[in-house]
Amino acid sequence: MMTIACPWCGARPENEFHCGGTSHIQRPPLDCSDATWGDYLFVRANPCGLHAERWRHSYGCGQWFNLLRDTGTHEIKAVYAMTAPMPEPAPEAGP
């Protein structure tokens, strides 16, 4: 089980939260092509590794925030506000 640090409530267990999917997706202009619109709605990078994603503390304060999380190891590299730009991941700890 992951422990997620809610920016408002502090460290809480994973099952109090709800993942809202990939962050920082920009809506294209409304007169874009069907292909662009379909990509916007459905197509995702779905990386094995670092992934910027939205989470909500549903069974807590109810607020949304962002995580930078490794989908391979579930390690959380950064927690940041909903409207903040994606931070650089913290450098790996040295040997």
Binding site: M1, E14, W37, L41, N46, E53, T71, G72, T73
Partner: protein, 455 residues
């Protein structure tokens, strides 16, 4: 882990008694000169040597060649079935199946093995029922017992709303020509008496419906049966061989790079097909495009083995879990996804706990069972829960994915339709609605309600 399923010397038979040895490409004999039993039958079981050393291996671990007509990435059920039907239906045998681990080590060997065709829309009903029909005959077709037990699948109703919903569902199935039978509470009780019929039950059982032709299949047997069938027809099965990139000629994919040295590091092919489930986005990234796929962990668990306690499959959409009993006696328990993207093949405790709480609520007597194993597989979820079987933006590369939480039941049809496309260059009519283009045209086939759980 190193795969070595050659140790499985099971059965063979008198009429194909001398089918082995097969010649390796360097001219040496792969097997010794002793004739091997290749066909499984009562006769061969009785006539086998006392040590049973005269059975042919189930399939041969091949050394890769530098060129094939078709290279298939992924030795799960879908990849192996594709190879088998390419050889069987289309006479194409210069084919390799590459797996980064061992065959059947992905979701095919991790799933809860429920096979059904209780979908809502005609496109999916046709596709999945074709698959159930192939399963019905598969043991004979492959001469390998896949243990298809058509014990029925009951979907429960706990509220008036659920009752309305299951009549809509069952009626949709009947319109599609698929068997469905609405059950009142008493009938459900006859079929699954251990369910919680207590007057104080938190989820009272008001009724349900069953598809009697649904059931469970031995998962490993599907991988091994298709592997054996394909290998006999000349297909090369290559384990511990991960695809790491594509060889391109202009836009066209003309082969794969692998993590193996020498000849095997670069394998050319006229066509490449990927059937890698939760790892499809990685393959797409290697070829320079993205997919409408998100990878999630889906978990399952089994209890210690006990005497027969449940001889049908039961699903409760309300608690998001489903149950069956395996041939070995374990109660097999499945639930919903861990709802965040993941490539970690383990599954979170929060979800296991929810599924087990649901189990103890719906089957109070199962609360006394010890849990034996819990595991997870990485599944490829798309918006409408429908598969993708077709060409990709990279010419020469074809895809079979998007089955998400429910593609074990579809292994025969997934292989059949992808083989058709690879051999003829045209989509099989069953696969026509399931192209990548639907995510641009908006012509989705939304089976989320029927595909959500009871994978």
């Amino acid at each position: 882990m190193r795969a070595d399923k050659q140790g499985l010397y099971i059965a063979a038979c008198h009429n194909d008694f001398a089918a082995y040895p097969r010649q390796a490409r360097d001219g040496t004999l792969l097997m010794n000169h002793m004739a091997k039993r290749t066909r499984y039958s009562a006769w061969n079981l009785l006539a086998a040597s006392p040590s049973h050393a005269d059975w042919a291996p189930v399939w041969l671990d091949a050394e890769p060649k530098s060129r094939y007509d078709v290279v298939i990435i992924g030795g799960g059920g879908h990849g192996l079935a594709t190879a088998y039907y390419l050889a069987k239906n289309h006479g194409m045998t210069n084919i390799a199946v590459l797996d980064k681990g061992w065959i059947g080590g992905g979701n095919t060997g991790r799933n809860t093995t429920i096979v059904r065709s209780n979908y809502l829309y005609p496109e999916s009903a046709r596709l999945y029922d074709f698959s159930v029909k192939l399963y019905e005959d598969l043991s004979r077709e492959l001469n390998f017992n896949i243990m298809f037990s058509q014990r029925g699948l009951i979907t429960l109703a706990h509220t008036r709303h659920d009752l309305d919903n299951i009549s809509r569902w069952a009626n949709a199935m009947r319109f599609n020509g698929i068997d469905a039978e609405i059950l009142d509470a008493e009938k459900v009780r006859e079929l699954a008496p251990r369910l919680n019929f207590d007057s104080g039950a938190r989820f009272p059982i008001l009724g349900g419906f069953t598809q009697r032709r649904a059931g469970s299949v031995r998962h490993d047997a599907v991988a091994w049966g298709y592997a054996r069938g394909a290998s006999r027809l000349g297909v090369d099965i290559i384990q511990n061989c991960a695809v790491t990139g594509f060889i391109r000629q202009g836009e066209r994919v003309v082969g794969v790079h692998t993590n193996r040295g020498g000849v095997a590091g670069e394998i050319r092919a006229d066509k490449v097909a990927a059937a890698v489930a939760g790892h499809s986005s990685q393959i797409a990234a290697m070829a320079g495009f993205r997919l409408p796929v998100t990878s999630y962990a889906l978990q399952a668990m089994v209890s210690e083995p006990v005497k027969p306690v449940l001889d049908t499959v039961v699903l409760s959409p309300a608690v998001g879990a489903y149950w069956s009993q395996s041939g070995k006696g374990e109660v097999v328990i499945g639930g919903g996804l861990d709802l965040f993207p993941s490539y970690a093949q383990r599954g979170s405790f929060a979800t296991s706990q929810m599924v087990l709480a649901a189990t103890a609520e719906m089957f109070p007597s199962f609360g006394r069972l010890r849990l034996m194993r819990q595991w997870a597989g990485i599944v490829d979820v798309v918006q409408d829960s429908g598969p993708i079987i077709g060409a990709t933006p990279a010419p020469g590369l074809y895809l079979n994915c998007g089955w998400g939480t429910g593609g074990f039941k579809a292994i025969p049809v997934g292989g059949w339709t992808l083989a058709h496309l690879l051999a003829t260059g045209r989509n099989h009519e069953l696969a026509e609605p399931f192209q990548l283009a639907r995510f641009h045209t908006g012509r989705l086939i939304d089976e989320a309600a029927a595909a959500g759980i009871a994978h």
